[in-house]
């Protein structure tokens, strides 16, 4: 643990992009007693980049919404390398609303390089889909807990990140844009990715410090891939504790706290 904390931001990026990095498909059977996948946004289609369904964790029914990285080329073909289209975000919102109706907490797992950038995504309103989720999750009348499993890239991550409590796995990164994109925009040189990593403040510790996340979930020595069961146990323990804590809070109080959590992020001089 101490050793891992000494990994540079760039090394962590390499850890989360490691092909053995566990994905939501590895974690679900280890964290939840049961999981029933639900498909489709009821508007256009079913996006393989976002998986959703009803699960139970230590007997508590919850709705699970997760960005899906593939473990091989075929899985990645189906999940578009975890880059959702608008229908993915709309499926997430549909399932979140369903959770609200049945007073089920929502658990979101973030793991995406970013929302998909393409012609079809634009035609179907990628911007609108993300915006709608930000607005609706902010007022969703049921607890929402989010966990960054690996990469939390940009608005595509935030669309599942408006929550009461955000946890990040120790080596995860969360950023406004990929370090590559950052270097390319600011220095017109995507090759300066490493340098971008070092100044962007993208690590789990940075997230705590900036008030973006509330909790760091420990990974086994060397990274989550070295002991998937242990990592899953750590995630499960966090979820169980946090669910108990949040489910006790009156929903109007919880919504105020959720609003305030985001409301106070920002630094300016008056």
């Amino acid at each position: 643990m101490e050793k891992l904390n000494k990994l540079t931001p760039y090394e962590r990026l390499e850890v989360v992009r490691h092909k053995g990095r566990p994905t939501i498909r590895d974690y679900i059977p280890l964290i939840f007693d049961e999981f029933w996948e639900m498909h489709g946004d009821r508007l256009y289609g079913d996006d393989g980049a976002i998986m959703g369904g009803i699960a139970s964790i230590s007997g508590i029914p919850v709705t699970v919404i997760a960005e899906v990285k593939g473990r091989n080329i075929n899985e990645n073909k189906d999940s578009n390398f975890a880059m959702p289209h608008p229908e993915g975000y709309r499926k997430a919102l549909r399932l979140a609303k369903q959770a609200e109706k049945f007073h089920r907490p929502v658990i979101c797992f973030i793991d995406t390089p970013g929302a998909f950038c393409g012609v079809e995504a634009e035609k179907r309103g990628q911007g609108e889909a993300i915006a709608r989720n930000l607005m609706e999750f902010m007022r969703l009348r049921t607890p929402v807990i989010s966990v960054v499993l690996g990469e939390g890239g940009s608005g595509g991550a935030l669309a599942l990140g408006v929550c009461d409590e955000l946890a990040v796995l120790e080596n995860s990164i969360y950023s406004v844009i990929s370090p590559r994109g950052f270097a390319s925009i600011l220095w017109k040189d995507a090759g300066r990715e490493k340098e971008a990593c070092s100044i962007m403040k993208i690590t789990a510790e940075d997230m705590l410090e900036l008030g973006v996340a509330e909790k760091i979930i420990e990974e086994p020595f060397g990274g989550a891939h070295n002991d998937i069961s242990q990592t899953a146990e750590n995630i499960g323990e966090f979820l169980y504790k946090t669910l108990h804590k949040k489910m006790k809070i009156d929903i109007d109080v919880l919504l105020n706290e959720r609003y305030t959590k985001f409301r106070k992020i920002g630094e300016f001089i008056e």
């Binding site: 929302a115 950038c117 393409g118 012609v119 995504a121 634009e122 035609k123 179907r124 309103g125 990628q126 911007g127 609108e128 993300i130 915006a131 709608r132 930000l134 607005m135 609706e136 902010m138 007022r139 940009s154 608005g155 935030l158 669309a159 990140g161 408006v162 969360y174 950023s175 406004v176 844009i177 950052f182 925009i185 600011l186 220095w187 017109k188 040189d189 100044i199 962007m200 403040k201 993208i202 940075d206 997230m207 900036l210 973006v212 959720r258 609003y259 985001f262 409301r263 992020i265 920002g266 630094e267 300016f268 001089i269 008056e270």
Partner: protein
Amino acid sequence: MGLEELFNVVKVRLNGNDEEKTEKDDSAVRVPDNMLFKCPRCLNVIMTEELEKNLRVCPECGYHARLTAPERISLIADKDSFSEFDADMLSANPIDFPDYAEKQQKLRESTGLKDAVITGECTIRGEKCVIGVMDSRYMMASMGSVVGEKITRAFEYATENRLPIILFTASGGARMQEGIVSLMQMAKTSGAAARHSDAGLLYITVMTDPTTGGVTASFASLGDIIIAEPKVLIGFAGRRVIEGTIKQRLPDDFQSAEFMLEHGFADMIVERKSMRRTIAHILKLHKTGGNA
């Protein structure tokens, strides 16, 4: 170096060109470049004077060129009715980005702005409302802490005082120099929009050139009524990013106001000359609505 270049590109596009370059240019006819405006949509070159007379609308194709925030406010608000909120708020440097403060100091001097949005209260044909106008001259109106905070406060003020809010959006997206803090402004502003909406109050978005990235993916897309100016650029991802992904050139009208209307993401396209009248009418129609 990179940043400076970026700003220069923006400045050149916005203001035509600066005199300095004209002086160096030894061509036969020496026309100051800011006398001419090249339309980014139809590529026709017209006299800047002609453009100004036409409310900065391209007479050839109808593209609605960018306005400064003060110009926009004077076109929309009743004379002398505007009073500004948070006029002195300045950016801090949340991720200690090198040269961020210096770049901003320069921009403040050249534009007279403190950051990329001006918010306040005004009347439009007598109708009281909160108004926010983004100004692309300032770091391409990217959203960092100041933009996020000012927009959020504008929504909160409108909610407390039961007023409609009108936001003229323009933005390159999140402000990279503020890292993850800028991303969080998307959630913050959208949350404030949700509370204003829950109070039964009207929010009108007017999308102007260019409305993109994190602003499209947050408060800009959340208006009860979404108006766009003709021919302006509206989208989520950068055009070049998409062209790079699909390895082919996109049609010219891709990500235009008309494209958004066609695909169901804008309610109407309104010309600049009719904007004030249109907004005033919509405000009047909502006077008796809402949870009183």
